[in-house]
Symmetry: C2
Subunit: 347 residues, 2 copies
């Protein structure tokens, strides 16, 4: 059971166009690539024939000689339905698309989910299907960066890789939101509201740099809080709900909580409701991410930290192009994007 294209000769080649318009292959090629030195009437004639035949250049052939594909891979993990809940990722992609479009490049999204995906994606990247790769939130120890390096494929990270992971970390530029600064903003806001028992629900800080940074931001403001006030979860709604319950059990008099993601915060809010705590009167809550559809739908709507995802995407694409503009062989310039507090009703 093999997927085959329409039988041969069916698809017109550049040769067909040439014959039909009474010029040589080279001339047709020039027209296709909009090279200047072709007589206007020839251009017109060739264009007509192209339209008539429905000719589309065979990219494989073109690619074989030019070594360009005009496509860039965006590689992302989609762990158990999480990633795409994210308007964040949406915006990121939009930024990437817009920047790539300026270079005439097509973004193609690849998934890294199940074990065998990894090998297939590696083959795809190594096979020269794309001119570069934007790699998102790789697991610590992922071998993809190594692979792209060997293949000579430019790559840029989205989200800073967890540090302390040796070989791959320093080589590629990355773009990330200011997780630590954002967390600081959130906690400072809570403190400025006069809250004195400020807890936090964290993400999986041993696996994700963003989670580690957000916890660090909390600690920046509140270096001496008791460990009762810190509860680790996994960036899921249910995880947030459970963590909140534990916090409440360990420390019934808490009056504020910084929850390191909106999704977890929506779970936390539910737990608070079930325990009869009013938000924000009894407990003020700040989330992180500004997933609008979640943050606006909760009761009460969620005060949270926003990152400019579109800008991040745009920058990643730009870095990718920079990286190969000759200049940047050694200059691994990375970027951190500032965050912003969005006030709604929960704090």
């Amino acid at each position: 059971m093999v997927l085959t294209r329409r039988p041969h000769g069916q698809r017109p080649t550049i040769e067909d166009v040439a014959r039909r318009s009474g010029v040589s292959r080279s001339t047709v090629s020039r027209v296709i690539n909009a090279e200047p030195k072709v007589r206007a009437e020839v251009v017109e004639r060739v264009r007509e024939v192209i339209a008539e035949l429905g000719y589309v250049p065979n990219q494989a052939a073109r690619q074989l000689v030019t070594r360009r594909t005009n496509a860039v891979a965006v590689v992302a993990t989609q762990p158990q339905d999480r990633l795409f809940l994210d308007p964040f990722f949406d915006c990121l992609l939009r930024g990437i698309r817009r920047e790539l479009a300026r270079h005439g490049s097509q973004p193609v999204l690849l998934f890294l989910d199940e074990p065998d995906d990894h090998a297939r994606v590696a083959d795809y990247l190594g096979g020269g299907h794309v001119d570069g790769a934007l790699l998102f939130s790789l697991r610590p120890g992922d071998r993809l960066p190594e692979m792209t390096d060997r293949a000579g494929l430019p790559a840029v990270f989205g989200g800073r890789p967890l540090p302390g992971d040796g070989d791959t970390a320093p080589r590629h530029p990355y773009v990330d939101g200011d997780n630590r600064g954002g967390a600081r903003q959130a906690v400072q806001h809570l403190v400025s509201l006069g809250r004195t028992r400020v807890a936090t629900v964290t993400g999986p800080y041993d696996q994700e740099n963003s989670a580690a940074e957000r916890l660090a931001g909390y600690r920046d403001v509140l270096p001496d809080t008791s460990s009762d006030l810190v509860e680790r979860a996994d960036y899921t709604r249910q995880g947030g709900a459970d963590a909140m319950a534990k916090l409440l059990a360990g420390c019934p008099d808490l009056d504020a909580v910084f929850v390191a993601s909106d999704l977890m915060a929506s779970g936390a809010l539910q737990t608070l409701r079930e325990h009869g705590r009013r938000v924000p009167e009894d407990v003020a809550v700040v989330g992180f991410d500004d997933l609008t559809d979640i943050a606006e739908a909760t009761d009460p709507p969620l005060t949270t930290i926003r990152q400019d995802a579109e800008e991040m995407g745009r920058l990643m694409a730009r870095l990718l192009f920079d990286r190969t503009a000759g200049i940047a062989a050694t200059d691994v310039s990375s970027v951190v994007i500032p965050t912003q507090l969005v006030r709604r009703d929960s704090a």
Copy 2:
């Protein structure tokens, strides 16, 4: 500013491998493609050299002769942050991935958002980067199907295209959820609860077949309801909230509402709350889609209609392969997947 691969000779070719292992190109090719008739020790030697050199076959070259890419395009619109909020789409993709993996094919996701995306995607598809395409919720009148046909590229629709759109509709197989049946289930459930004034908030039924079908399902059960009980919205949260307000204004004594998407339902719930209506006591609510993270986060949690998205994805991929297995040139077999009522607290 052009994105270039590592300078030439840097990437080893099959020729390099051949020379280094003292065999011919063909033999190396045979090893790569795991053809049986090669002496075991030769295989081993060649494999060693491949590893040593970090050789990866150039897909463009291979593709030029085999006419296969082992990649399938998944083309989707991502209108104003909507698409990816969708765990539905997540599951769909998972199904697609799993089925494609069985054929060793890599799914690559392409976006169709802004006007120029369309041309670029068309070039990409026509350029032979992929063996087939899975096309999602195209706008009525979209020219992509026509294009894939000309290029001889097999295609399968996700979501039935709005009928009455002439040329393209009948030619491609599609996979869709049973929108009409699901809507019937929802409304029947409301009726079985003893509700007598059952309103509905619809999607944009002139643009999306799913919206039209869901409205039809409502009418199947309640053919004679006054037009006061039907309000059209746009599948957004805010749209759902506004539509609910209009329904309440036009028909204050309604006691149930079928909202044609969970996202709109979350908006409707908020409006009901603001108007002091208790759910489900005063007004019972049923949504559609089962976007778990939304449906579970609303207050009260939302009763809704679920579609088996993963199965849909799997089927689409299977249909794509079937379509080219020779048999199916004329046999445009499409599939509709049944739905299921998920009871939570809102009805």
